[in-house]
Amino acid sequence: MRAIIHSLLLASWLFPCAAFADWGLNMPPGVTEISQAVFDLHMTIFWICVAIGVLVFSIMLWSIIHHRKSRGAKAHNFHENTLVEILWTVIPFFILVGMAVPATATLVKMYSTSDADIDIKVTGYQWKWRYEYLGEDLDFFSSLSTPREQINNSEEKSENYLLEVDNPLVIPVGKKVRFLFTANDVIHSWWVPAFAVKKDAIPGFINESWTVVNEPGIYRGQCAELCGKDHGFMPIVVEVKAEADYQQWLADAKAAKQTASDAATQDWSMEQLMAKGEQVYNTACAVCHQANGEGLPGVFPGLKGSAIALGDPAAHIDVVVNGKAGTAMQAFRDQLSAVELAAVITYERNAWGNNVGDMVTPAQIAAEKQ
């Protein structure tokens, strides 16, 4: 009888653990040395806890079954025993020491950020990430690319629902990459489970972390610190490429940036600007000011019929380009190109019945940006 109970008990503990490896519901072991170490640590503590749990709960269950009044059990009289009390204070203590040693070793490794091959500054914004490759002339924003329709259930959800971005971070395989985390507004936290890197991005301060990824691939993560309304919608995607592919990508990305700035010298018609503006508005502004331009009362001002959108274009340009310090309205000077800025401002002045009729040109923006 007792043996059966024990084996059942053990099985009920083991079953979920064995199973969740198959269902992919345990922590992923990840693709870096550190993430492996963390995974091992996790499993070690887990099994120690399971073992202690099995022991404690078995004794308890045994008493519940055997020492019940309905079975005629008579209560014994002991209520103290110095020896066992000392033992069950000291033994757990040493178990803990056993856990603390590998944990500390892993921690020390995680903290050694020196000798990196590449430095990338990661800045959290409400609600997107900015990646600056220090020492390279490359700097871009990365935001959610899942369409609103999927979120609002009017479209089938894609495979990487909420875990996809427009511009992923790209790093080379096998190189030590140092991240410098900071934030523009509130605290965010950059987390990619496969690397076991999770570090808060704190406005005004820089936190460091590092990784060496050994397998090329696409790795996904999410912002892990509540950062306002769209905290759930600022994923992270990292593409790890072989060295050659990485160099190619680097060159392409720099070239694309050049094309974008060339576009500013082109002539743009009202229709073109409005069309582009709508697109930019929906990706960059609608999260706060809403697609219908009405904002969220008390939190984000509406732009439909607002004094600024109907008034002097200079003031309007100023607030979009430079943002408003100390509010959620961030500066878009680095986030959007001159064309995009011109387009989105033109759009705001002429959409939703704001028919001001004037047009803001990329040249005007370029002047403001000086």
């Binding site: 410098l180 900071t182 005004g204 301060f205 820089i206 936190n207 460091e208 310090a325 100390g326």
Partner: protein, 293 residues
């Protein structure tokens, strides 16, 4: 000290009234403060005032009850101990309140400001604030446009030193008054309490002068970055406690004039004295860590 059993007061309407008053105070203050930044004029100030007046009346009534009960001998020695425990733990809670602000001061001085200035383990942060250097007092803040640092800070060896002397002296005079009470020399109690109150008043006066100087001449304001913030929050809350303590001293002074308190039964007096010593000790901490060091 006559009755043997513990005194349990019968029903009282003070607690619920005091809750209402507290609610009005909080709600009024909230509306008023929110009105400040949105430039709306609301009824916040009026509600706040109503709450304050109501609270004052309640406290007078409530303490009045307690005093009457005490004078009519309803309280036992055990009751007296309850009051003592109550007051001691209340003072402990006040200590912890100040501990939060002192902790803040130590944290920014030893960690945050050096990090921002490029020292220590998070010194890379200086990348974001090029040219910023850690110093204390923090005269130049990381972002001088948003938080223009002070031009100058208070010299500890003028008003603050004087204030230290005043407050320490007042701790002595209140002890002298207490001794007098134990010896039942009523005139001396009245005298020394009056001196204490005057010292307290002088302290508050100089503190106010210091604040005016800070704002008008030194550029040391709440807005002047973390030095100003910690300076005003610490000295400000201390000042509020001195004000409260002064009121309490005044009240017991008036009670002494009315012939309250007996040589061996005067917990009200002692409570105020304890509080006063606590305020004094906090000041010593301030003088050391805010002004001198």
């Amino acid at each position: 000290m006559s009755s043997e059993a513990y005194y349990v007061p019968s029903q009282s309407r003070w607690p619920i009234l005091a809750s209402i008053a507290l609610f009005l105070l909080a709600y009024g203050a909230g509306s008023m403060i929110n009105g400040l930044s949105s430039e709306e004029s609301g009824s916040g100030g009026m509600i706040l005032l109503a709450g304050a007046v109501l609270m004052a009346l309640i406290l007078i009534g409530w303490f009045g009850n307690v005093i009457n009960e005490s004078m009519s001998g309803l309280y036992s020695e055990q009751m007296d101990r309850s009051f003592r425990w109550g007051m001691s733990w209340f003072i402990f809670s006040e200590v912890m309140f100040f501990a939060a602000f002192f902790g803040t001061l130590f944290y920014v001085r030893t960690l945050a400001v050096p990090w921002l200035g490029g020292e220590g383990e998070k010194g890379v942060s200086n990348m974001l604030w090029e040219g910023f250097q850690a110093q204390w007092p923090l005269m130049t803040t990381p972002d001088m446009e948003q938080f223009p640092g002070p031009q100058q800070v208070i010299d500890p060896w003028h008003l603050p030193l004087l204030n230290t002397v005043l407050l320490v002296a007042s701790s002595f005079t209140v002890t002298v008054a207490h001794k007098a009470l134990k010896n039942n020399s009523r005139n001396n109690i009245v005298l020394w309490l009056a001196v204490t109150v005057m010292l307290a008043g002088a302290f508050l006066f100089f503190q106010a002068a210091e604040y005016i100087e800070a704002y008008e001449e030194l550029g040391l304001t709440l807005h002047a970055g973390i030095y100003g913030a910690t300076f005003f929050v610490l000295t400000g809350f201390h000042g509020l406690h001195v004000t409260l303590g002064t009121f309490m001293l005044l009240v017991i002074w008036l009670r002494v004039l009315r012939g309250h308190f007996e040589p061996e039964n005067h917990f009200g007096f002692e409570a105020v004295a304890w509080y006063w010593h606590f305020v004094d000790v906090v000041w010593i901490g301030l003088f050391l860590f805010v002004y001198i060091l």
